[in-house]
């Protein structure tokens, strides 16, 4: 039998590739399984919390922005459906990024003792957020039925497309921040602020077309979340603004490339500095 041969050398610039990640897929599964299990064991409300949080926000936003400030919900007739569709995509991104960013520091004791592809850690943090998203998505479907929201069945595949864009953007930003957090310990305090800015720059509580200034709109389309929400709402509205999607996809890919590059650059030294 041919034995596995490993060569250990000083770190180089090229990436060892994703094949190694595949080799360690079981560990990936176990990390995610641990985080999901622990998360729901520790809270009394458990899965209920994943459902109540977006619903609560939906009620608040509806009262505030639809009833009081009369913000339009674009092509979607009911504001609660409109805002929840944006909220769950945003929450997926938000909790993916914030958990991924913290994940490397939280798992420092394992990183210092065992070798495995470090990318597994932020990835499994994102998978946990995805699990919460699936719960929230069920609530969303119930809400759509309740409001008798018409669905454009030809566009149903835009749902997963929007989710994928949101996940990929969260991956790019999340791994970038996780590496940055290991190196610069005070950076973590800026992450919530950064996410808050992104929230208001995303078409969660307002539809992007109501922005009057064209220069502002031209900036906002590069927020990958706007593309993700645009795609996710397509089965509800029946239309999709392709310019937003292309600009978002472009910045999402750029973000992912930068994230992967920076993560790989610092990865080898995590054990020394973590």
């Amino acid at each position: 039998m041919e034995k596995l041969t490993t060569r250990i050398k000083p770190p180089s610039d090229f990436s060892p590739g994703l094949s190694e990640l595949w080799q360690y897929r079981e560990l990936f599964y176990f990390f995610s399984w641990r985080d999901i299990k622990v998360k729901y064991k520790q809270t009394y409300l458990g899965i209920l919390w994943a459902l109540l949080q977006p619903l609560g926000m939906m009620v608040i936003f509806t009262l505030l922005f639809s009833k009081s400030l009369k913000i339009s919900s674009g092509a979607i007739p009911h504001y609660p459906v409109f805002v929840l569709s944006g909220l769950i995509v945003w929450n997926l991104f938000n909790s993916s990024v914030s958990h991924a960013a913290e994940s490397m520091i939280e798992n420092a004791n394992i990183i210092k003792k065992i070798y495995f592809p470090r990318l597994i850690i932020p990835c499994s943090a994102i998978l946990v957020a995805f699990f919460d998203f699936l719960m929230a998505f069920l609530v969303f479907i119930v809400l759509c039925i309740g409001y008798q929201q018409p669905i454009v069945w030809n566009a149903i595949l835009f749902f997963p497309a929007g989710i994928l864009l949101s996940l990929l953007s969260a991956f790019g930003l999340g791994i970038f921040l996780s590496a940055l957090n290991v190196k610069y310990r005070d950076f973590r305090y800026t992450v919530p602020f950064l996410l808050q800015v992104l929230f208001f720059a995303s078409q969660v509580i307002y539809p992007l077309p109501i922005i009057q200034q064209s220069w502002l709109k031209n900036i906002l389309v590069f927020n990958p979340l706007n593309g993700a929400i645009e795609l996710f709402r397509a089965p509800l509205t029946g239309t999709v603004d392709i310019n937003i999607v292309i600009a978002s996809l472009g910045s999402c890919i750029l973000l992912t490339v930068i994230g992967l590059f920076y993560f790989h650059k610092t990865e080898a030294y995590f054990a020394d500095i973590a």
């Binding site: 490993t6 250990i8 050398k9 000083p10 065992i114 070798y115 310990r185 020394d272």
Partner: protein, 404 residues
């Protein structure tokens, strides 16, 4: 047959250690702003934790790695287990590596024993099917079968260690790296582990790399050993020869160490050293001997009173005792030596380390050096012979009573 592990010209360089290894972005920004005006570049000190290590280990060999604290033993294992990359040279490994750098890595208190076996096993590189196959054996070996479906937070620390070692003992790698794990558990369990390790290596032809401070354990398990001194390989030979070389080198060795402070320029520790009552430099003491530790304080520009804090740690069990010395105002631009005498009748044969701290009048830390110095109390006392590997920290005679 090709060697299981081939190490060629391996070296590992670290940047200065006294500073915190990670940085605050705030400092980086303020430093770079300062540098724009001053043009002065911080050169940064570095040292080689390992240098020019060349070694070939045949399949099935059991190699012990010995050396003093900071000799590079753990760094070598960390490189071989791919936790940290080398700076120069390369290592070629033929076979799957399992590392036991610390047992119980990744254990989670909220999960049950059974769930933790799966989690820990997969972190250590076992496949899920392999864990399922071995599950009964692992649970049986650990001796905690009654509590296997209870969350780990209800376990005693001893039970956690048993479970952890049990998972580790059932790893099936061709190459096993072990760092100081034998200091865990009770004697009975240690013997069981030792037996398991010997069985694994003899009958299954596993290659074992074993780092320990415990020469007896190295002698029992390994057939060859490597001695590292200040990151360099001194000798690679049979266990007896290497241990003898090590012991002779300790007698003449000096423990003196120059210190640099990352936090304070006004007043700081500049040197630390250990010696016996005749002020002969020493690193290994026999039990009962008084250890003298000289701490030099450099005062450049400090005009207040200060306090020197002294902490003694056991290598594996944490803080043992502390002591303080209040010092009056000291003349500036001067260094002064303080000697603390430590009687050792009550200490067991073990490795110890010393932390020192410098506090100002409000008892706030000015300078702190953890593990500033290490020393050993040698196993010269037959009292501990044959009592396993863990003698605890305090050596005390207890009275025993039994019912007739």
């Amino acid at each position: 047959m090709l060697p299981a592990i081939e190490i060629r010209n391996l070296g590992k360089q670290y940047m200065l250690t006294n500073a915190p290894p990670y940085v605050a972005l705030r400092d980086v920004i303020s430093e770079s702003v300062k540098n724009i005006f001053s043009k002065k570049k911080n050169p940064g000190n570095s040292f080689w934790a390992l240098q020019d290590i060349t070694l070939a280990i045949e399949p099935g060999e059991r190699i012990g790695i010995i050396g003093r604290n900071g000799a590079g033993k753990s760094t070598l294992l960390k490189i071989i287990s791919r936790i940290t990359p080398p700076t120069t040279g390369e290592v070629i490994i033929r076979g799957r590596v399992g590392s036991l750098l610390e047992v119980g890595t990744g254990f989670h208190p909220e999960l049950t024993g059974r769930e933790n076996i799966y989690l820990n096993g997969s972190i250590l590189g076992l496949k899920r099917t392999a864990i399922t196959r071995q599950l009964a054996a692992i649970i049986d070996f650990s001796g905690v079968e009654k509590f296997i479906d209870t969350p780990l937070k209800h376990y005693s620390s001893g039970m956690q260690l048993r479970l952890a070692f049990s998972v580790a003992a059932h790893l099936e790698p061709e190459i096993l790296l072990i760092d100081e794990v034998l200091a865990v558990g009770d004697i009975e369990f240690q013997k069981k582990c030792l037996g398991k390790m010997q069985e694994v290596s003899k009958h299954h032809g596993r290659t074992i790399l074993f780092v320990s401070h415990n020469l007896k354990a190295i002698n029992d398990i390994c057939d060859k050993a490597v001695l590292l001194t200040k990151g360099k390989m001194m000798i690679y030979d049979t266990v007896e020869k290497v241990i003898n070389t090590y012991i002779t080198s300790l007698d003449t060795g000096t423990n003196e160490r120059e210190l640099i402070s990352a936090t304070s320029k006004n007043i700081y520790f500049s040197r630390i050293n250990s010696f016996d009552t005749n002020r002969k430099n020493k690193y290994v003491f026999s039990s009962g001997e008084t250890v003298g530790i000289a701490i030099t304080v450099q005062n450049n520009d400090w005009s207040g009173a200060f306090t020197i804090g002294f902490g003694l740690n056991s290598f594996s069990k944490g803080r043992i005792l502390i002591s303080h010395k209040e010092c009056r105002v000291m003349q500036t631009k001067l260094s002064k030596e303080f000697v603390v005498w430590l009687p050792t009748e009550d200490l067991t044969p073990n490795s110890y380390s010393v932390d020192i701290s410098l506090l100002d009048g409000r008892k706030e830390t000015i300078d702190l050096v953890t593990d500033a110095l290490g020393f050993e109390i040698a196993l010269a006392n037959t009292k501990f012979e044959g009592l396993g590997y863990d003698y605890g920290i305090i050596s005390k005679e207890l009275t025993w009573q039994s019912t007739e």
